[in-house]
Amino acid sequence: MPSLDAAFTALADPTRRAILARLTLGEATVMEIAEPFDMTQPAISRHLKVLEGAGLIARRVEGTKRPCRLAPAAINEIDQWLNMLRHALAKNYDRLDDVLAGMQPKKRKGLR
């Protein structure tokens, strides 16, 4: 697996994230991947190259086609991705602690 930095850079682009989302549905050719985008195939190919370089997708040769799929290595990088998600969630929940600290209990009609 190439560096996590390469993966982050690859994921920083919404088109590339959309491509990954598409590939969760299964293997696809460049033409199939390009279809929903308002973008030329060479432009899509450049995005695929970045994703491939980051180890997030793998491609095989089938005649003149080079279908893409999510790379097993990327799927196996669960732990590193979990760490990053943990970081993002931790920030949200630290913020929630502050919100909760400032919340007034809802008015109750006497004690229950």
């Binding site: 994230r17 990954l20 993002a88 209990p105």
Partner: protein
């Protein structure tokens, strides 16, 4: 000490736990009332949630939209399946990037625990690849902090 745990389970699940010193009622409300949700469910610094629609009843829909103020943004839509105030929320959601990601089924429990709340959130994705993609998009949420760290190393 980190209060948050986040683990993968089997091929399709991710389980998050977090303790809060507030009571389950408050934590539950902070997950279902738009004005509260908008104050904390924000990701990296600088992001806001300009749109927060949350119809917290069985069959009700929600839509959260995030923006970074520089033209970037995305949104999540979902539906509530079951709600048990103030102990349990079951819902399904997907991110729009802009194509929708596979549905993520999430059960969130709020259990009274040592005067506070133990929250347990269990996500179920359709398959291993969808889980990987969900985690990958979550990576973006932590990315700005990573870039800041990278910059400080240079």
């Amino acid at each position: 000490m980190s209060k948050l745990t986040l683990k993968s389970e089997g091929d399709r699940h991710v389980v998050v736990t977090r303790r809060f010193s507030a009571l389950p009622e408050a934590v539950y409300r902070a997950h279902t009332e738009p004005r509260l949700i908008q104050r904390w469910m924000l990701g990296p610094d600088g992001w806001t949630m300009p749109v927060c629609v949350c119809d917290a009843r069985p069959g009700g829909k929600f839509r959260y939209e995030w923006a970074d103020g520089k033209g970037r943004g995305f949104y999540i839509t979902g539906e509530f399946t079951a709600l048990e105030p103030f102990s349990r929320i079951v819902h399904v959601e997907r991110m729009h990037l802009p194509d929708p990601t596979p549905d993520n089924h999430i059960e969130t429990r709020f259990d009274a625990d040592a005067g506070g709340t133990l929250m347990t959130m269990r996500m179920t994705l359709p398959d291993a690849a969808a889980r990987a993609a969900m985690l990958a998009t979550g990576v973006e949420q932590g990315m700005e902090a990573s870039y800041a760290r990278l910059e400080s190393m240079n």
